[in-house]
């Protein structure tokens, strides 16, 4: 729990010294397996802040709600979330000097469903730790261990940056890159299928889309002041919920975030009908990497998205 | 089994635009007639009610009926060009087909108003719903039931005055009727009053005795008119206003025009100030 202590200490200092007017972090949720985004403004609320392997939400996008904040806003980010910070800065959504980045080197998260299936929902987590083999969660009802192999969150298996790529305060020891599952494993499998099968696969997924727009609202690359899907005129996508409109929605969105998607996995997490959006976005990410030989977007503040920047030396073979 | 065709409230009746009057650069009044004479005959609106106008292929919008029910055989809607549907309406010409369903909502309490003087205060396109009641009480068959009529009306400029014929010629000539017209800023050729409606109202300083005040206009005007009326001694039960909310179904199902647990399309759009004060400030 060293990280949690560091987090509270620094948050307290920032608020007391008025270096920040707001700290965005995590607090316990309504049940043991959930956390909530917390917005801390007062010193006495700092102890609500927690860090444990259930802190899944990417908090970076909340910064957009506070771009009129008079003071600086501090935000807690994991490695994956930190790429979203770079995204927002590069897109001129937030000025770098207005934010204080509290980076947490994250060894990987626990699948909340696995936790929920074993723990009393009303208990509280007292402490958590992780070694090579297992997560260990101490609650009021004892210590529970979860094998890392079985209960590591899917997206963490292919984690690229355990340590945030950008931070003003690093709240724990840096975690070096480790062996990871190929993030494009599933993409490659799908690519190997005949066109008909691929098409059927996505039809089945998009068919059940509710068009709740959670994927868009949570996405750190979706920052348009007015989204095309909300425009009445011109009407790019009909309000009708059917396969054709749903497909158009997902493909337009995928191409809109192409080269800017930081692969944080939030769209996948929030989808209420489990549409594998990471798979869709990773297909484009893979193509972009193949075409332009660039790192995952958001990795480097000075490296602009390949489709959003140009130089005189760009090849123009297509002209 | 329910027969969808015979009483489907969401299905409009085809109607034809018979005349279009240019009121201001962005307001037109449309005279419409149902294609089926029986539907025309059975459409019995009360002053203050609204209807849903369809431009097929574009959609529907809620528009207040600006003609008085005493005027038989047609309906009038005055429409300001603000959105997609109203812009589409503005592109239509006489002879074009539309759809109408309704009438919806409650109405001005014209029964309770009998024997009373009436003070109308309107701004801009806000005169449209009031006009239905003004013409209703001024109609020959009803005139004797009501006392004196005062109408205070204002717009940004002379160009923006709606119903110019009514306010400048027809209504001032009616017995027991006074019309006060004002524009926000002085301009050449205008010899009438210049100033905002609430200020003009205070200048005129009508007595609240035996009177109802009915107001409609932009929210900021309504706000100051209500303050002025209160200062003059009007009670909350003497002041009536009509609200505008985004509506889709018009029949209390689609869930967007609620203010608290009231639906403006069913329980409004006409509210006494006393009722309005009971509602959460979400309009």
């Amino acid at each position: 729990m060293k990280v949690q202590e560091n987090l509270r200490d620094i948050a307290r200092k920032l608020l007391v010294n008025k270096e920040a007017t707001l700290v965005i972090g995590y607090a316990p949720g309504s049940e043991v397996s959930r956390v909530i985004p917390a917005f801390i403004r007062k010193e006495e609320e700092v102890d609500h802040l927690i860090w444990n392997p259930l802190c899944v939400n990417n908090l970076a996008k909340y910064l957009l709600d506070y771009n009129q904040e008079p003071g600086k806003v501090a935000v807690v980010v994991k490695g994956c979330d930190s790429r979203a910070i770079v995204r927002l800065i590069q897109d001129n959504q937030i000025p770098r000097e207005k934010i204080i980045i509290l980076g947490i080197p994250c060894p990987g998260l626990l699948d909340p469903e696995t936790v929920a299936s074993r723990l009393n929902p009303n208990t509280q987590i007292l402490s958590a730790s992780l070694n090579e083999q297992a997560f260990s969660i101490q609650t009021e009802e004892g210590i529970f261990t979860f094998s890392r192999n079985e209960s590591l969150l899917e997206k963490c298996r292919s984690c690229e940056h355990h340590t945030p790529v950008i931070a003003d305060f690093m709240l724990g020891e840096e975690i070096p890159p480790a062996n990871r599952v190929d993030p494009f494993e599933k993409v490659k499998k799908l690519e190997d299928l005949p066109v008909k099968d691929r098409s059927d696969y996505w039809d089945k997924q998009f068919q059940r889309c509710l068009r709740c727009y959670a994927c868009r609202n949570v996405c750190p690359a979706c920052t348009c002041r007015e989204c095309v899907f909300d425009q009445a005129e011109p009407c790019w996508i009909a309000k009708a919920n059917n396969l054709s409109e749903n497909t158009a929605f997902h493909l337009i969105r995928a191409f809109h975030v192409a080269g800017r998607c930081v692969d944080c996995g939030e769209c996948d997490r929030v989808c209420p009908v489990n549409i594998p959006l990471t798979l869709l976005n990773r297909k484009i990410l893979k193509d972009i990497k193949d075409l332009f030989n660039v790192p995952t977007p958001g990795t480097n503040l000075n490296e602009l998205p390949p489709l959003g920047s140009f130089t005189n030396s760009d090849p123009d073979e297509f002209m | 089994m329910t027969n969808c065709r015979s009483h489907n409230p969401l299905r409009p009746f085809p109607a034809t635009i018979i005349k279009i009057i240019d009121e201001t650069p962005d307001v037109k009044t449309f005279q419409m007639v149902f294609d089926d004479p029986e539907v025309m005959e059975n459409f019995k609106q009360k002053p203050g009610q609204v209807a849903q106008i369809s431009v097929f292929g574009v959609g529907e919008a809620t528009i207040s009926i600006t003609s008085s029910p005493t005027r038989k055989g047609l309906l009038e809607f005055s429409v300001k060009k603000v959105g997609m549907l109203t812009s589409a309406l503005h592109r239509l010409e006489p002879g074009c087909k539309v759809g109408i369903r309704g009438p919806y909502g409650n109405h001005f309490p014209y029964e309770k108003m009998k024997g009373k003087d009436l003070l109308f205060i309107g701004g801009g396109i806000g005169l449209a719903p009031l006009r239905a009641l003004i013409d209703f009480v001024l109609a020959e068959e009803n005139r004797k039931d009501y006392g004196n009529i005062e109408i205070i009306y204002g717009a940004r400029s002379v160009d923006d005055l709606c119903f110019k014929y009514d306010i400048l010629e027809r209504w001032p000539q009616m017995p027991g009727t006074k019309v006060y017209t004002t524009i926000d800023r002085a301009e050449q050729g205008w010899e009438g009053h210049v100033g905002f409606v609430p200020a003009y109202l205070e200048e005129i300083n009508p007595t609240p005795k035996n009177k109802y005040a009915i107001t409609c206009g932009p929210p900021i005007m309504i706000k100051f008119v209500l303050q002025a009326l209160e200062k003059m001694g009007f009670s909350d039960d003497q002041v009536i206003t009509t609200l505008e909310m985004k509506m889709k179904c018009g029949i209390g199902k689609c869930g967007r025009c609620n203010i608290g647990s009231k639906y403006v399309c069913l329980d409004g759009p006409v509210f006494y100030l006393s009722q309005l004060k009971q509602l959460p400030p979400e309009f």
Partner: protein
């Protein structure tokens, strides 16, 4: 009303017969973690072991997108043609909370203005409820006046038994569905079905992870519209439509036209969400619920107050879907508990 017992083998025969004679809509496991109500072609497609479908089955009475009528222009005449022609549908295997959700929707689409689209589907739909055999961690139907074995509002109520299923007939329409295939059913002479159901009910009552106390909440909200608490909730709300779309009682919709040539086309309606910013935004730009705070307050007041004001029914049936799916853990049980706390705090100066 009568009760019957059907063996597992006969249940299969019965369902296949129903599939042959009607449109049967039943829970189907679409993906590992997605369970949906869909029309089925055979008994084997049905997953009766589900706890709660991902999306509520309300869409079979109030589809997410529903064509209302077609319009045609010819010789400057507009002709309209109705689109709705539903056949008889059996909603099979509904959980009690979802039946309660339908009961909560009924008065919305009833009243002075009959919504013929809903009414036609409703009158042509037979509700077969299936008692729960376990309680999910987000379930709180027992706090909202329902219960995992309370099939009130259904036409038939099924209870899983050791040797098959018990069937309690709640309406004459339900009776018809049994009578038509009477050879498959044995009459329950000694109330075994209701006894089994009672026992199951008692067993499940202790399994709820959280009991919610809604007493006094509506009365508190009657008096308190403006609460800083709504700001707190709104801070983390994403403003997406998950909660409203999966909810069994949310009924907001939009109406829109589609016309490729401007001459003919279709008018449809589709689910809309009070959580979307443009839901109440008027053409001129004014928005009476301009921020997430007003919108989230509206949603929860709708559930806890407005629905009761208008229809004297709770706007929440305790199915727990929104709790399960909200990406930022906005938990209506917690909101109710917090409001109780706020109410107590609010009253402190008085006592």
């Amino acid at each position: 009303m009568n009760a019957y017992i059907i063996t597992r083998d006969n249940l299969r025969t019965w369902i296949d017969a129903l599939i042959r004679d009607y449109t049967l809509v039943a829970p189907v496991r679409e993906e590992e973690k997605v369970s949906l109500f869909k029309p089925v072609g055979s008994f084997t497609e049905i997953d009766l072991n589900y706890t709660n479908s991902t999306i509520s089955p309300k869409g079979w009475l109030f589809p997410q997108t529903e064509e209302m009528f077609f319009f045609f222009t010819s010789d400057n005449q507009i002709n309209l043609e109705d689109a709705c022609k539903p056949g008889t549908t059996i909603l099979f295997g509904l959980r009690p909370c979802d039946v309660k959700g339908i009961i909560a929707l009924d008065p919305v689409f009833n009243g002075t203005y009959q919504d013929c689209y809903y009414q036609m589907r409703r009158q042509n739909t037979i509700l077969v409820c299936l008692c729960c055999t376990r309680v999910e961690r987000h379930c709180f139907c027992n706090s909202m006046g329902g219960g995992p074995t309370n099939g009130e509002g259904a036409d038939l109520l099924l209870t899983e038994m050791e040797d098959g299923y018990g069937i309690e007939v709640l309406t004459s329409r339900g009776e018809e569905l049994v009578n038509k295939y009477h050879q498959l059913f044995a009459v329950d002479g000694d109330n075994r079905v209701s006894k089994t159901r009672d026992e199951m009910g008692k067993k499940l009552a202790s399994q709820f992870s959280r009991k919610v106390d809604i007493s006094g909440i509506k009365e508190f909200l009657d008096q308190h519209f403006e609460l800083p608490y709504w700001n707190e909730l709104a801070q983390r709300c994403l403003g997406c439509g998950i909660c409203t779309f999966i909810c069994p009682t949310c009924h907001c919709f939009d109406i829109f036209d589609q016309s490729p040539d401007g001459e003919s086309g279709v008018r449809s309606r589709c689910w809309d969400s009070c959580m979307f910013s443009h839901f109440t935004r008027m053409a001129g730009g004014h928005n009476p619920r301009p921020t997430k705070k007003e919108r989230i307050r509206n949603r929860f007041l709708h559930k806890l107050k407005y629905h009761r004001d208008r229809y004297n029914l709770d706007g929440c049936v305790g199915c727990g879907r929104c709790i399960n799916k909200c990406p930022v853990n906005i938990d209506i049980r917690q909101i109710i508990a917090d409001l109780q706390e706020v109410a107590r705090y609010d009253q402190l100066p008085l006592s």
